[in-house]
């Protein structure tokens, strides 16, 4: 009966225009429906149908609702039914994806979404499903419509809000509007706690689902849960569905008169392929030619052979640079042992102290002790060490170096015994105490009986050498830089430099005749310096000093050193404070009458003065560099000027430069000339002492690095082969410096003694050293305001 109805529905539906298909499917549908009906019957027993829960076509429901409300006319119902059906068809196809449906019908549809034949069948199923479900629903909800004989028409209008997304009303109290425009209110929701408590109490809670659309709670039946389980497993929802049913072939060949195709079988079906054979031939040729290779494991020929067959034949030399084998890595010592003896293991304090060291100094390997073989851990730097070795092998330049394994003592030069070189000053014999400040300079009298000293306390003293008695004191008033006895015994005068002045003092020694001559000499008739150039006056002025009883030569700059000519005729002074410092020659008596011309105002440093006429002159030499000190040649008319770097030697007679000695030092501080005049020693501020052999070269014959601090002064002995240097490190060195008359023999230099005794004050040590003119004695003047005499 229902099937008949179905057919009628089908026919009446205008959308299913494809009649042919319908006809074809009729029988098939029958089958399907049979199956489905069986299912549905089981379903009917259940109180609620799953279809209800699914999102059904709203419109159909609406229309049905409407119909049920307005009238119960069959026609209308029929019409609405068709409507609903047609509509439903549309929707059902749309909803396939939407509803992961629990119903069989929709499941079926999803399986065969593309296939129209099946689709129609499914549609019918849907209809069938609807029928009974609606019936039951209707019986529950709408009593009034119960009378309707067609169960299909009474699709339960559960929710009448239409096809409206629920989220629009999410926050509202109503779920939507019915057709009359009235609000459909939501059911009272229990508060969470209550619902939870209820759910806890309810043993069936786990199968309850809230249907949002219809706003109700639904309890799943056992059958439904079973279906869900099956679906979860991916099986057909109903247990009695046979997915592998026998295929029923609708087309019957027996009664067909003609085959589907009338064409005769082609010949190519019976003969071998030409193209195939061609291709094969091509391959064969390629293989024969060796174009195609197979990846067969190659026959492994022995990779290794006797490379060094016989060594003689392979000895031919490769055209390459010599191979320098890499040095072998260092062999491990006792401390690298896993169990070294205890003394090799540093204590904890020592290990801690390594942390204070610089990273480069830190020992790379700290010995450890493991009491048994099994407890040795793996060495964490094994790979790193190897890598470093590899990098060394590849990147370190290799040089063949001869490793000298010599006794360091053999490196020392063989020196003659010091005993053979005696006498020389060795021990402190006397101290001259009296000065209050650092003794800057000392000078010995030509006879060797007296010494004069000048100090920063502003006094000049004369001492008796033998006794250490202070004979005379002059108060200069300014700190004394330099004192110098006149070397000529006929004129016992003393030149003292203090500040900008050079004072020539009458010592009062000598017999009356000499004294008379000196006094005569020390008379300045005309106080202003007579000079042919007018700017001379600004440099030097000759004044009579009544208080001290001498001549005061006032310079325009501080004078540091005063040097007498050997005959005591004239003296030079140095003013290093000025960049262009000047050296004055002061002619005291007769002798040279040469005249040095003033070259330019910038050459003020070099002036000449004639003292018999009380004159000062500049030296007409150009000095390259800053002058430090100056010395006269002991025998000839040669003049040495030391600048900071070089020594310049001038001939005073010819008025030209003879030689330039290149010291190579940073800063020259002092200079001394051997009594023979051919050798010069130069002391420097970096503590080096240079010995120049003037005949040999303009470079130093020997450089002695003896003092750690500045050399303040150097001195030669007049008769003994001795020379000395004194320095700010509070020591004085005494050397043996023998110069042979044979020019082929180099001078012999032997260090003899280090003289100590002075103490440092203000960072200065020994300020001056002078030899006794006759004895092998050395005087040293210290910054600690004492003068010491060292004797042999």
């Amino acid at each position: 009966m229902r099937e008949g109805k179905k057919v009628s529905v089908e026919v009446s539906s205008k959308k299913n225009s494809n009649n042919e298909k319908n006809k074809k499917n009729q029988t098939k549908n029958n089958n399907n429906n049979n199956d489905n009906n069986k299912n549905n019957e089981t379903k009917k027993k259940e109180s609620q149908n799953l279809v209800k829960k699914t999102n059904k076509s709203g419109r159909s429901v609406q229309s049905q609702n409407e119909a049920s409300l307005k009238s119960e006319e069959v026609e209308q119902q029929q019409l609405s039914a068709t409507d609903s059906d047609s509509d439903y068809q549309d929707f059902s196809e749309d909803d396939v994806s939407e509803n992961e449906s629990l119903t069989q019908s929709e499941d079926g549809e999803s399986e065969s979404s593309g296939d129209e034949v099946h689709g129609t069948g499914d549609d019918m199923n849907n209809d069938n499903d609807d029928g009974p479900a609606d019936q039951s629903d209707g019986s529950q909800s709408q009593r009034g419509v119960e009378e309707s004989d067609s169960s299909e028409d009474e699709v339960a209008p559960r929710n009448t809000i239409g096809d409206v997304p629920l989220e629009w009303y999410k926050d509202e109290k109503h779920i939507g509007y019915d057709i009359a425009g009235k609000k459909i209110t939501k059911k009272e929701r229990q508060d969470k706690l209550a619902s939870f408590l209820a759910s806890v109490d309810d043993s069936k809670n786990w199968r309850k689902i809230y249907d949002e659309y219809n706003d109700e709670e639904v309890e799943l039946t056992k059958e439904e849960t079973r279906i869900i389980r099956r679906l979860l497993k991916g099986k057909a929802p109903h247990a009695d569905y046979d997915p592998y049913a026998d295929y029923v072939d609708w087309f019957k060949y027996e009664d067909s008169l003609h085959p589907l195709s009338n064409a005769p079988e082609p010949k190519r079906r019976f003969i071998p392929s030409k193209w195939e054979s061609k291709k094969v031939l091509q391959y064969v040729r390629a293989i024969r030619k060796g174009l195609i290779k197979f990846d067969e494991p190659k026959e492994e020929e022995p990779r290794f052979y006797l490379l060094w067959g016989d060594d003689s034949s392979t000895a031919e030399k490769a055209n390459r640079l010599s191979y320098i084998p890499a040095p072998k890595s260092k062999l491990p010592g006792h401390e690298e042992s896993y169990n070294p003896s205890l003394e090799y293991i540093p204590t904890q304090e020592e290990v801690n102290s390594y942390q204070l060291m610089y990273e480069e100094d830190r020992p790379k390997f700290i010995p450890k002790r493991f009491t048994s073989f099994r407890s040795i851990p793996s060495y964490e730097n094994a790979v790193k060490d190897s890598f470093e070795r590899c990098m060394d092998l590849y990147l370190c330049p290799r040089v063949r170096k001869k490793r000298i394994n010599i006794d360091p003592e053999t490196l020392r030069p063989k020196l003659p015994s010091r005993k053979d070189l005696k006498p020389y000053p060795a021990t402190c014999y006397l101290e001259y105490i009296g000065h209050k400040g650092a003794v800057m300079s000392i000078s010995t009298e030509a006879s060797g009986q007296w010494i004069a000293s000048g100090s920063t306390d502003g006094t000049v003293r004369i001492w008796e050498v033998e006794s250490g008695r202070c004979l005379r004191v002059w108060e200069i008033g300014e700190s004394v830089q330099c004192v110098a006895w006149n070397p000529s015994p006929e004129h016992p005068v003393l030149a003292v430099s203090a500040g900008q002045d050079v004072i020539i003092l009458n010592t009062g020694f000598g017999n009356e005749e000499e004294q008379k001559r000196v006094e005569e000499l020390l008379q300045v008739e005309n106080p202003t310096a007579p000079d042919d150039s007018d700017n001379m006056a600004s440099i030097v002025s000759w004044l009579q000093d009544e208080r001290l009883g001498g001549i005061r030569l006032r310079h325009f700059k501080t004078v540091t050193s005063v040097e007498w000519h050997r005959r005591g005729d004239y003296l030079s002074t140095v003013m290093p404070a000025d960049i262009l410092f000047s050296v004055y020659l002061i002619f005291i008596v007769f002798v040279y009458s040469f005249l040095f011309m003033v070259e330019s105002p910038t050459f003020r440093a070099i002036v000449m003065h004639q003292l018999s006429k009380k004159l000062s002159h500049r030296i007409p030499f150009k000095l390259h560099g800053l002058p430090v000190s100056s010395v006269f040649h002991p025998t000839r008319s040669i003049f040495f000027v030391s600048t900071k770097k070089n020594i310049r030697v001038y001939d005073l007679l010819k008025q030209k430069l003879i030689k330039k000695l290149e010291t190579g030092l940073r800063e020259v501080s002092s200079i001394a000339i051997h009594p023979a005049g051919d050798n010069v020693i130069v002391g420097s501020r970096e503590g080096k002492l240079c010995w120049f052999d003037m005949d040999l070269s303009s470079k130093p014959y020997r450089i002695l690095k003896c003092h750690p601090k500045d050399i303040t002064n150097v001195a030669f002995h007049r008769s003994y082969p001795l020379f000395a240097s004194c320095s700010d490190d509070c020591t004085a060195y005494v050397f043996h410096g023998m110069v042979y008359s044979d020019l082929n023999q180099n001078p012999l230099i032997v260090p003899l003694e280090i003289l100590r005794g002075h103490t440092s004050s203000n960072g200065r040590g020994v300020m001056d050293c002078k030899f006794h003119p006759r004895q092998p004695w050395l005087f040293t003047a210290g910054a600690d305001s004492t003068i010491k005499l060292y004797c042999h």
Binding site: W308, S337, Y338, S378, E380, S386, C390, P397, V750, I754
Partner: protein, 591 residues
Amino acid sequence: MPKHYRPPGKKKEGNAARYVTRSQALKHLQVNTKLFRKLCVYKGIFPREPKKKFRGNHHTYYHLKDVAFIRHDPILEELRAKSTYLKKVTKAKAKKNRELADALLKRQPEIKLDRLVIERYPHFVDAIRDLDDTLTLVHLFAALPATDRMKIEVKRVHNCRKLSHEWQAYIARTHKLRKVFISVKGIYYQAEVEGQKITWLTPHGLQQVLPDDDVVYDVLLTFLEFYETLLAFVNFKLYYSINVKYPPILDSKLEASAAELYALSRYFDANTRTSEQVAETQLEESELRLAQLQHQLPSNEPGALMQLVKGPADEIEEDEDTKECKKLFKNMKFFLSREVPRESLLFVIPAFGGNVSWEGEGAPFQEGDQSITHQIVDRPTQGHIYLSREYVQPQWVFDCINARIILPTEAYLVGRVPPPHLSPFVDNEEEGYVPDYAETIKRLRAAAKNEILPMPGAGVEDLDDPQNLLAEGYISRTEAIEAAERKQKMMTLEKQYHDELKMELQSTQSSSASDMNKQSSGEDMEAREESLPDMQQIANDTANMSKILMSRKKRGLYEAIKKGQERKKAHVDLLKERKEKIDKAKKGKKN
């Protein structure tokens, strides 16, 4: 035109013409740094120091001839071709053409380094001389885990292991090993081959750490590639010299299944042992037999390889040292407990003529064997003790080897802290400090030498010798052992007596001498002090005196030497000071 004038852009002369900097060399060869490094490593080219560094101190200089040497080598073209070929592979991979990429990789051109080996080392001795680094690196890689990230392939690790075992097998069989030293860094071995002393380091057989950041593994692998080739050729030559075929044919199945290697090796080992015993009985070994033996050899047991080379090695005439080494552990049977690191002991003991076995399936003899003389144990306590043997720690073996005598085992017994292990590479006298234990060993050696002399003369000894008696079947095994023990005790007593005698003699001599010295020096001192108060100062002065006259170069050298001596002395002083402290502490404890 003066000689030194060179117009700009014209040819250079001097160092600038002979040397090029590294970047210049790269440009000249048209290679990148990586390839250059590879070339340098293969060809053994290293930077050289020009007399004048014309580009400054921070450059690396190569000699132009060296660069030309690389340039003219076909390996340059080969490497270029290979890199081009590898580009094909990358291209195939980029196109997801897996098959092509695989096929290309399989057909890769192989670069052979044979020519470079002979070029670098025209004589065999040269190769032997340069073998230190080779062996160290190969042994290191034999212990490294294979990782893809570092490009350390399993194949290479296996090859390294194989090569190292081959080398060890040769050394052990020909008794060329001289010194062994267990350091924290690993175990140092020193062997003497062809008159060359070769020292190499093997890591302790533990999981090695692979540092990530400061190691470039490409460099190591490049070196390893050359070293593998070199070592293989050297091994070939060495095996050839003792008439053994190289390479030993190994079971391919074993090689393939690296995981089961360990288990299988023992099984195979057992086979070799039995067959080897047979082989020993037949004195003349045919080539066929040898091949068979080789066929059964596992790759990672050095012991197995050693057996292989046994026969022929005996024929070669040996020098004194080798004879001495060969005899050291003669007639001694060792058994290694399971916790003892086997690898090194299995190499070392046979190298000095001993017989070894271990706990495991393939072992030549079992723990229960009565003839075992020493069991090497590295555990706090030993449960079951056979009275017939001595239980010693592994260090005893190494100390015996370095001392070249059989040391008394008392100090090395189980559970004791062994005496210090001293480096055999140090010349104590030169170092200036002799550790106590070195002194005792020295004395023991002297004593041993003295004792050996009268031994052959005494006929009684022969009768007493328990081995002989055993052979005649007079006394039972236990009695023999007892006798041996008694004899040993006697010997030790005798030794002690000798030692003490010597010590006494020495001490009396030295003390008297020192007394004399002290007295005389004291007198001297006093006399001097009277005459010169500031002795120290003057001594310093006189020392400095002659230094003043030295040239700068010589003075620098002198000062450097002095500094070195002082440092050494300071080190020795520190050791002495520590020693004193330790002794004091010990005395305090005793009291």
